[in-house]
Symmetry: C2
Subunit: 346 residues, 2 copies
DNA sequence: CTGAAAGCGCTTACAG
DNA sequence: CTGAAAGCGCTTACAG
């Protein structure tokens, strides 16, 4: 195996001091263009890779970003994807990633979140939902002067901090338009959790689309729900029990849609054919359901990568607004043009 | 924020030199019991946490483990779980984790895998399937003298190296026994990929159980398949086209089972009721299918954590045999007692 | 803009 | 078994 190259080797080849090499590597502007060229050339020629450990040690930096996310039963795929995206961004930007899991309902959640920030074990923080929705937490983190970004935040906190998230209202609007375009006129809704604002906004958008299409209140039945399979199952049953016969049911997310699909089958409904069920997120399993699920994709991993860039800027005191990612409709077999079945539903 | 404690602070409080503190921290046996006690006590009192960067730099070690896994479309959940388990183990054992993705069919796969090993950018390697099934790769890695473990290997390579995996033959046997116990006597099989040995072994085990139950060759129809949704879909259709009417179809894994479920529905079969379909893995989405899938759980994350321990031992020259994890049957709604439907299948 | 020097927190021969 | 010292590869005031 070839001997490891160090900053000294590069300095020797470039004919400068190690300090100058270090400056070039760190984008320090106080280096002449000529020396910069030579150092870069020498580094490339030697295939020099700086030693991360040494950089961190000498720079007295942790170069560690901290992801704070909820301990939650469902949606593990969501956090896997988010983490994968963050890791990718960390790799590009020379950061490490630590993860802190917090119970969203714990009374000690604020202390839990603030502890690593006050100890200085990280240089920046990524707040995932539902923490990104909580103005108190945002205020406390901001007061600590620790750079941070929020992911998938609701309207209130979005105005307060940098971050990324999907435009959920647009997503809801897009899904409703899709179904309206297929001829649907009677809808069911299974709602998400009250404290998860982004799920709420999906329905705000959908309602707008219904109103624009001239549908009245009697065209829609909502049911309390949640973001997991059992919640979707129960919510569907609640709609069914009202006697109202929607031709399409919009679920808060894909997991609850899976539950709703199963509930609909238990009632002997043919899917699709007698009923359309759709979700949000384009979870990895959405295409594995029967029928494969029509849904709205949000590129969570890409959002994670983007979040690191925004956070890296925040660390350098570059301020940015919260960024809204455009939703994308993914049409699969679970939605289809309304033929005569609308009349014969069930 | 409290000042960071260093090894010097601990040495001062314990009344020894920093070198002694370092030895205690590294389990060096050449420290008197008395000094060990004092150092440990001082470290605890000061809440001392050694600086990883400095340790790695001074020790000239990378403390990095390398996971080599295939670039594959489906089964991403599998690698997420494996990685999560490995990361947990790395945390406990003071390792970092790098991941190298390799195309299993690339002609350059051997070179890709050997490169980081020869460069010495890691201290140990984790080989995931299908690389763990390849005797050539095993031999090459062994020849490099780099410590390594294999995950989910077939019988041939299992005898050659340390690692962890489920006992797939036992898993297949267990699933077949479950279905036989429910009264099933006519079976369909969708096979996995030919080069993924652990999937093959599942069927070896199942066939044994059928033979033990006195079933003949005519009780089973197999179809070429794969490990993803489309493969399962196609494999089911192939079985269906033969005219054979199984009461239960055993699929190579959960993703292909999802495809088979969808195919069965397209043929108008009621699930369950007219047909049982089961899978292997207990993937996170298995409970989200309609019907929720009966399957065999393998604790992939725990296997990952265990793999790090085994690899850490290998690095210390402690040899271990390949470990087989016991499968666990997860019964959900997709399997049920055969009533009269066996006769009226379809 | 540039270099010499000190230092980041730890490990490890070396000498005892 | 123990300590003084050198050094891991880099960064950053400091002085110019």
């Amino acid at each position: 195996m070839p001997a490891k190259k160090t900053i000294r080797d590069v300095a020797l080849l470039a004919g400068v001091s190690p300090a100058t090499v270090s400056r070039v590597l760190n984008d320090n502007p106080r280096v002449s263009a000529e020396n910069r060229e030579r150092v870069l050339g020498a580094a490339k020629a030697l295939r020099f890779r700086p030693n991360t450990q040494a950089r961190l040690l000498a720079g007295k930096r942790t170069s560690t970003l901290l992801l704070i996310h909820p301990i939650a039963g469902p949606l593990t795929w969501y956090f896997h994807l988010l983490e994968a995206g963050l890791l990718k961004g960390c790799g590009r930007n020379g950061f490490q990633l630590d993860t802190l899991m917090v119970f969203p309902d714990s009374p000690r959640r604020m202390a839990k979140i603030l502890q690593p920030i006050e100890r200085g074990t990280c240089e920046g923080v990524v707040l995932a939902a539902p923490f990104s929705d909580d103005p108190e937490i945002i205020a406390a983190v901001r007061a600590s002067r620790m750079p941070f970004v929020i992911i998938a935040a609701g309207a209130e906190t979005r105005a307060l901090a940098a971050g990324v998230g999907m435009d959920d209202e647009a997503a809801g609007h897009m899904m409703a338009r899709h179904l309206l375009g297929l001829g649907h006129r009677r809808f069911g809704f299974t709602l998400g959790l009250p404290d998860h604002l982004s799920a709420q906004e999906r329905f705000v958008g959908a309602r707008k689309a219904f109103a624009e299409a001239g549908l009245g209140e009697d065209a829609v039945v909502e049911a309390e729900g949640g973001l997991d399979f059992p919640s979707g199952f129960a919510a569907f049953n609640r709609i069914h029990d009202t006697g109202f016969k929607p031709t399409a049911v919009i679920c808060a997310n894909d997991e609850s849609a899976a539950g709703a699909i199963h509930a609909a089958r238990m009632h002997g409904l043919q899917l699709p054919g007698a009923l359309n069920i759709v979700g949000f997120d384009d979870a990895p399993f959405a295409r594995l359901l029967s029928p494969p699920l029509t849904t709205i994709a949000q590129t969570i991993d890409i959002m994670g990568t983007r979040a690191v860039t925004i956070l890296a800027d925040a660390i350098r005191k570059i301020e940015r607004p919260y960024e809204m990612v455009k939703p994308r409709l993914v049409i699969r077999e679970s939605s289809e043009r309304v033929r005569d079945f609308a009349a014969s539903a069930e």
